[in-house]
């Protein structure tokens, strides 16, 4: 084994090993835990940077490990996986800092950070999975690692939320497993290959392949929160804020969306999927989810719940982009994977800040909060505007490419109205919040002021992460054309997928 074969393993291990060590740390060993967490996160960032460079220069990073005859655990870095790995790594680093501040003095921190690291390892493994079998393994591991995080608080509400989350995701996982096994029996080990591998199968397999596609998409759709499989997501927001942030922005929801992208592009091949008539169905499901999520978000007074429904809606942009045939649509979907992540994590961080600092949980309690917490609210505003699609924030870029792609593919007739409706709805549920925060007079007292205003409006560890991610959201929009920007990378992916 040389460096090229070790790198993917190291990328996974850089969060896995610290996580395992953290489990055995004493609760009071705060310093060691922080050190391990941050060292792992930074190391991972360094490793991933080298990987980005390598993949750009068409280096092959691949590790293989045989589990059973014919069943190999393959970690393989291609453009798409590197995109997701980078997103996870950057956001993990930020979230870890945030979580250290958030959980100061809370019980069971060793357990929390242990599972947190496992969760990231599973996400990175899933991103690097080189075949469907490996993907399924990490997909299930992700479920297992997030369950304790959702249940972490131990209240009956948390345990219930976790149970619902588990019921959905395990059920979905089972369907995914059946689809994968079925595909394995038909086509052998299904390695992810740009352009897909199933197009060569004889035509009498096509009905079966359609069934399998349905199984896979439904299985993945549970995590990606496609309507009507989204029921767990609003329940799971009982988790601590850093968990919600990670769950909604990177780990769980994104894993589902990423899986859909993988299945369409690298298993079936987008042209073959279109030939089987599978893309339209996926697009319609995504469109329904986009509109439904936005409408539901409109009616939530609980801030985190509103954000949760917003996630339901926004993640389906990725699926929508996948369903749009043609490189432009693909770019829009894939780049939204990153953009939505950065924006949504900002929103959840800031929501956590409101709750932790002032005890604000509801939109109706946010009057005038912009004056008390200007930096936080500014971050919130940038992210919210990005979600709506206001230039120059990142969200605008995604929507622009989706729209262009739809026109190019001749699907504008129904995609454009969906995009417009969704943007209007996004505005309808975010703008009133911004209005309240900035322009309404604050009430006599905050619901529960935990952290008094001192040098900063709240703890530094809570404040900086959302500010940084908001800046990132802004930067990815402003400098979309810069080399190694998400958009450029997504373009690279689209080119390789379509063989351009």
């Amino acid at each position: 084994m040389n460096w090229d074969a070790w790198l993917p393993v190291l990328v996974v291990a850089s969060s896995l090993l610290p996580g395992l060590v953290i489990f055995f740390l004493r609760e009071g060993n705060h310093r060691m835990r922080t050190l391990l967490n941050l060292a792992g996160a930074v190391l991972k960032l360094v490793l991933v940077s080298s990987m980005i460079w390598g993949v750009f220069h068409e280096h092959v990073y691949e590790s293989r490990w045989t589990l059973a005859p014919g069943l190999e655990l393959v970690l393989h870095a291609d453009t798409l996986s590197v995109l997701f790995v980078t997103l996870s790594t950057v956001l993990w680093l930020v979230t870890t800092i945030y979580a250290i501040g958030y959980l100061e003095n809370a019980p069971h921190r060793s357990r929390f950070f242990g599972f947190f690291s496992l969760c990231v390892s599973a996400t990175v493994g899933l991103a690097l999975a080189g075949n469907l079998f490996t993907f399924v393994i990490f997909y299930e591991l992700l479920t297992l690692a997030t369950y304790p995080l959702v249940a972490h608080r131990g209240t009956s509400e948390a345990v219930r939320g976790a149970r619902i989350y588990l019921a959905y995701t395990l059920g979905g996982g089972m369907l995914l497993l059946i689809g994968t096994v079925w595909l394995y029996v038909l086509a052998g080990p299904t390695a992810f290959v740009e352009g897909g591998i199933l197009g060569t199968l004889p035509a009498d397999y096509h009905p079966q392949l359609k069934m399998i596609f349905l199984l896979l998409i439904v299985g993945l759709g549970v995590k990606a929160a496609l309507v009507p499989l989204h029921g767990w997501l609003p329940q799971a927001m009982v988790a601590p804020a850093p968990v919600s942030a990670l769950l909604h922005a990177v780990a769980v929801v994104k894993a589902g969306a990423f899986g859909i992208v993988r299945v369409v592009y690298d298993v079936y091949g987008v042209n073959f999927a279109d030939q089987l008539g599978l893309l339209t169905g996926l697009g319609i499901a995504a469109a329904i989810t986009i509109v439904y999520g936005s409408v539901m978000a409109l009616f939530q007074d609980n801030l985190k719940k509103r954000l949760a429904y917003s996630t339901v809606s926004q993640v389906s942009y990725i699926a929508l982009g996948t369903a749009i045939l043609g490189p432009i649509g693909t770019i829009g979907g894939v780049v939204h994977l990153v953009h939505q992540g950065i924006m949504k994590i900002t929103l959840f961080f800031t929501a956590g800040n409101y709750a932790e600092t002032l005890g604000i949980h509801k939109v109706s309690e946010m009057n005038g909060v912009g004056r008390r917490m200007p930096a936080t609210t500014l971050a919130f505003s940038i992210a919210a505007l990005g979600m709506i699609g206001v230039p120059p924030v990142a969200g605008f870029v995604s929507k622009w490419y989706l729209g262009l792609g739809a026109m190019e593919a001749g699907m504008a007739v129904w995609v454009m109205p969906v995009l417009i409706a969704s943007s209007v709805l996004n505005a309808a549920y975010f703008l009133p919040v911004l209005y309240r925060a900035w322009f309404r007079e604050p009430g006599t007292a905050w619901p529960a002021e935990h952290i008094p205003a001192a040098r900063f409006e709240t703890n530094a560890a809570l404040l900086w992460p959302p500010v940084v991610t908001a800046m990132l959201a802004l930067a990815t929009g402003l400098f979309a054309a810069a080399p190694y920007s998400p958009l450029e990378w997504a373009t690279l992916i689209a080119h390789r997928e379509y063989g351009l």
Partner: protein
């Protein structure tokens, strides 16, 4: 090296005598015996891996006249699993039984049980199998009754009577075989047996005896009370190994000795009963109020999965696909052995530390006993069949076989059973995560908790991630 099979029987037997004669040193004797026997199992594994199946003619008499021990990939793997599970349970038992008289009673029987397990797995002679079955049954019953309470005695008595009925039916089948073929040696029989009026009833008799012992639905009624009322280390071995020993014989007879006698219809019947076991066992486990009962019903269900393989194995043409399915079966059986033993040991710790094992009152255990809870979670992962456990790979092969042969109904059963398993495992974990106003500091008791943790980790991590040699030992490749 060539003598290793007989040492695997002689060592624990000698240990049992030592523990009987020197009650004060019984624990030490048992642990030393355990280590030696485990080493012997390892040596045997190495031997089989390098030289292929081993045979040992006892007394130097040729097979048929004398008794031959045989060790192939499957039996060697099960022997090693037995050794590891019993060793871990022994270490736990040395803390579980604290009084001298308890130890004086426990250890000789414990080592006799181990003797019988090894003897059974190695036996190559039908009547010898009967004797090992009886030794296994009696030692298991005696150990199960050590709980001492009325429920334990009652369950043990029923266990014994059912076991005796089973072994008598088995013996009747053996008699029939001897009447028809004049030999008891399995290797010879595999060569000469042919479908017909002697072999069919004989197989039916032996199988029904063994199915009774392996608690296949609907013959499982005796298992839950017996496994749930025995002392924890005993429950671990009963659920992980004893029922599996009987299953191993079913497997040997059906796929090996009587391979050309069995019919698809009979294999489908086994599959059907297995499906019943999966669904009923999982459902009862979900409804169970006590952890031990849950674990016992889970055993019923998990054994059911193993029987689901029979119709697939019979439908698949000989070749790599069939070998893979057989490998999946072995992997599932091994994983369940480790996982269930780990689960029972962990339950034992909870029972002793919390004074009960009522699921509804477990709230806060995760905080109080984090390592034990983690052991339960790992065992649970293996029982559900989630990656990266060995059971995942086993179930993968089960599903692939079902898809491949078009018998999709087994697929439905497997999925339903797995979801039910997830439901009962996470029902426990949900309670374990439940909130208690933080009354207890976390407890870790290394000597008690390590065995459970290691066994569970073996099932949930090692077999799944590093289990490739298992397939190699079973001579399976694609």
């Amino acid at each position: 090296m060539a003598d290793t099979p007989i040492w695997l029987v002689a060592l624990p037997l000698a240990g049992a005598l030592a523990a009987l004669l020197l009650p004060r040193l019984a624990t030490a004797a048992a642990i030393v015996t355990g280590l030696l026997t485990t080493v012997a199992a390892g040596v045997l594994l190495f031997g089989v891996a390098t030289q292929g199946a081993l045979h040992y003619e006892i007394g130097g008499w040729t097979a048929g006249l004398g008794i031959m021990l045989r060790a192939d990939g499957l039996s060697t793997l099960l022997l090693l699993m037995t050794a590891l599970v019993v060793l871990a349970a022994s270490i736990y038992a040395s803390t579980y039984f604290r009084k001298t008289y308890e130890r004086a009673r426990f250890w000789p029987l414990w080592l006799l049980l181990w003797t019988s397990l090894n003897a059974l797995l190695l036996s190559g002679d039908l009547f010898n199998i009967y004797v090992t079955l009886e030794l296994l049954g009696l030692s298991a019953v005696a150990l199960a009754s050590l709980g001492g309470k009325r429920a334990a005695v009652e369950a043990a008595l029923r266990y014994l009577l059912v076991g005796l009925l089973g072994s008598m039916l088995f013996l009747a089948g053996v008699g029939l075989i001897y009447a028809g073929y004049g030999t008891l040696d399995l290797t010879v029989l595999a060569r000469v047996l042919e479908p017909g009026p002697v072999a069919w009833p004989a197989l039916a008799l032996m199988s029904s005896g063994l199915l009774l012992k392996t608690a296949l639905f609907p013959l499982h009624f005796w298992l839950p009370p017996a496994h749930a009322s025995a002392p924890a280390p005993v429950s671990a071995v009963l659920s992980a190994l004893v029922v599996k020993a009987a299953f191993y014989l079913v497997l040997r007879l059906w796929l090996d000795v009587f391979a050309n006698v069995i019919t698809p219809a009979s294999a489908n019947l086994l599959g059907l009963l297995g499906a019943g076991a999966v669904l009923w066992g999982s459902w009862q486990a979900l409804r169970a109020e006590r952890l031990k009962l849950l674990a016992a019903y889970s055993t019923v269900a998990q054994l059911g999965y193993l029987f689901l393989f029979f119709p697939l194995l019979l439908a698949l043409p000989a070749g790599p696909d069939r070998d893979l399915a057989a490998g999946g079966l072995a992997m599932l059986a091994l994983t369940h052995g480790f996982a269930k033993a780990g689960l029972f040991l962990a339950i034992g710790i909870i029972q002793q530390r919390c004074g009960h094992d009522t699921i509804r009152e477990l709230d806060g255990t995760a905080q109080h006993l984090p390592a034990t809870t983690f052991a339960i979670a790992l065992a649970g992962v293996a029982l559900v069949g989630l990656p990266p456990s060995g059971a995942f790979l086993g179930k993968w092969q089960l599903l692939a076989g079902a898809v491949d042969t078009g018998q999709w109904w087994w697929l439905v059963v497997t999925v339903a059973g797995s979801l039910l398993a997830a439901a009962y495992i996470f029902r426990v974990l949900g309670h374990a995560f439940g909130h208690r106003p933080y009354p207890n500091q976390p407890v870790t008791v290394a000597r008690e908790e390590w065995p459970a943790l290691l066994l569970s980790a073996m099932a949930a991590l090692v077999l799944g991630l590093a289990g490739a040699p298992v397939w190699g030992l079973l001579e399976i490749s694609t």
